[in-house]
Assembly symmetry: C2
Homo-oligomer: 458 residues x 2
Amino acid sequence: MTKTSTRLALAALVSLPAVAIAQPAAMPTVDPMVAELRDAALEDELAWELLEGLTTEVGPRLAGTEAEARARDWAVEHLTELGFANVRVEEFTMPTWVRGEEKAEIIAPFPQELVLTALGNSGSTGPDGLEAEVIGYADYPSFLADDPANQAGKIVFISHAMPRNQDGSGYSPAFGSPRWFGPNEAASRGAAAIIVKSIGTEHDRTPHTGNTNFQPGVTPIPAAALAIPDANQLMRVLERADGPVTMKLLLTPRNIGEQVSGNVIAEVPGRNPDAKKLQVACHLDSWDNSVGAFDDGAGCAIVAAAAKRIMEAGRPMRTIEIVWYGAEEVGIWGGRDFAARHDGTDYHAVAESDFGADRVWKVTTNFGEGRRAEADGLRAALVPLGIVPGEYDQAGGADIGPLMREGAPGLSLRQDGTRYFDLHHTPNDTLDQVDPEQLRQNVAAWTAMLAYLSGGIE
Amino acid sequence: MTKTSTRLALAALVSLPAVAIAQPAAMPTVDPMVAELRDAALEDELAWELLEGLTTEVGPRLAGTEAEARARDWAVEHLTELGFANVRVEEFTMPTWVRGEEKAEIIAPFPQELVLTALGNSGSTGPDGLEAEVIGYADYPSFLADDPANQAGKIVFISHAMPRNQDGSGYSPAFGSPRWFGPNEAASRGAAAIIVKSIGTEHDRTPHTGNTNFQPGVTPIPAAALAIPDANQLMRVLERADGPVTMKLLLTPRNIGEQVSGNVIAEVPGRNPDAKKLQVACHLDSWDNSVGAFDDGAGCAIVAAAAKRIMEAGRPMRTIEIVWYGAEEVGIWGGRDFAARHDGTDYHAVAESDFGADRVWKVTTNFGEGRRAEADGLRAALVPLGIVPGEYDQAGGADIGPLMREGAPGLSLRQDGTRYFDLHHTPNDTLDQVDPEQLRQNVAAWTAMLAYLSGGIE
């Protein structure tokens, strides 16, 4: 399946250029050492070993909990064992929310349980739960357009129709607003609670959690995501009911105050300590409902395995800094803490792997016009992996965002997101979902990128 | 995907006969009325409407509970509305088991929660749960071969490697023994509890429940199925642990004594009340963890929609009896009750739809050699739906099994089971999974079968 889809994508590429874009210039030639390191990485075993180890021996690792602390200990132990230098943790604290019980039941007219999960920062129903009438909307604009008087005291339900796209573009405000903005808005309008259709693309009874936020002065209400089949079921119940649909919710999450998180940092020291550095990043925390293989154990495994390959090949001119960020899911606390302590202008390039474990399909950069030739050389080094050359003014990542805003040039090795939002923030984000062959292609892409940008390995 | 796989299957068929079987005889011609009714049924809307109604307005319907009673009320109301004759319920009672809480947690060495669900007839851990060391086996024979002294007082974990097959043949003792026989055997050997890898073929965190049985004199122990990724995770934990793996289980199911279930029966009266009848069957009960769209709401919708088409076309010579059986999942109580009250020799043919909602791919019969020409005519009527002619000595179904053992001839319209055991007995058995086009092909197959076997519609 994987091989076939790769082949189909390549076939499409071959037939597209004449139609879609002007005839491209010839690609630059690739340094044989870069090519050799890249191709050797297609046999990588380390990324799988790291990913299996982290997800099995630590498991879920919600930011601010003892599980995330165990993950940091695991990370320090294993990054040290691998021979990286300056392995350390930069700790910080942040307010921490933890899940409680979660149950939903249609009381009338068609009694049955529905599967849901609380959104991060959800309020609590209290231990006795909350019973109220449900008012449903097909999408966020319909909810906004309705009179708040119809919503006060009710359980607001908002659906959406998120599309499945390779580039993950369905995860946008057009479809994600029910989760991102719905709870704050519903609370402001006096709703008793809000339930949204999971922001995802599959049809499993594995609801998608994720953060939401209430603005200062707005008291959090219970806020949860229904599994997608359960949201579709609730919509049918609303359509078929002759009278009001009433529901009982039980959600008992808690805020446990300021807790410790931290970023785990390791280095491959460069020959020239004055040269600008490369940073390769991921986030170590996961949601609490899965082992976070796609989000983002794979990213941590990929960047470390690639850096290890460079270290074994010799000494790069530039220092390579590995950062396994903490507390990304719950508000990018690690990325913000790191940027507050470090200077974005110290970096030659920063890059983050945080979109699963499927193959890299496109490379984009925002090095600026002055480094166009370097950006083209990077693209050339990746073509043999089936990676298409992409935009010159785009790069990003949640954790490296703050550094980039300080001036760090970025690049993105974009992963195929076709099935990413089937798994994202669900209990299904497990090692079972990871395709070892695609994971190795990622390691090869990151290895080629580091070999090329590191200023020469001696 | 569906269309493509159908096309591939047909392509394979075209290339196979010369290799696999002798040149077949020419197919008999098909009565134009049978063909017309069959083809019209490809536009069927009733089966979807019944399936959506049952799964939405009733939801899950565990045998012996008030939910199954609501399902019988719903069934009587809708079968009556559709114009069927003699709509009635034959009640019976049976011992009833209901689920309680269910949690599993690895305590050491790698603390994390695992997802599981109790098996029907599981014992309880009591409200405080049970903590013990886990002993794991790759398959049932390894468990059997080990010394019971190694298992006493422990949580026995048994895995398997069930294959995905179109004909569902992976659901056999070779792979299902951990669930079917494991609990009784582990209890006999003094194990504290047993957890098995879900008997299924997917990688979702939606564990597969299902009945197990303890023999008289064997005290039930807690028995549950881990979701498949969780079973794989536990196997990795056992492999990576330096010392004992300990686990805490909480399972609090209860036996609530003798409860009422029942079979819902409806008829299309035949012109000749002395002619042997046709029975088309399904089961109305479902497991408690889903709305039972594949298992077996779809079957009930298909057989009723097909019978309705015959009724609208005129009056068949033979009476068509629709039976929506009760309490199949928990021990085929409905099928056994029906056979005790009725006589298998009163039937010209019996058939049951209980293998999901995907297309019918093969027809088999066991009419006996004296009715070979009739069996061939049936095959001919189904070929235009892409249904291959199958064995002459095979037919079956859980609920019609007891009638067949009394001498009722049977036939099977076998459904594509490629993804059946992804969904079977899991929370994912929802309406979202049903493909309306394949559901219609089923209705067309059942309509053609009834039109052909009913002795002529006038």
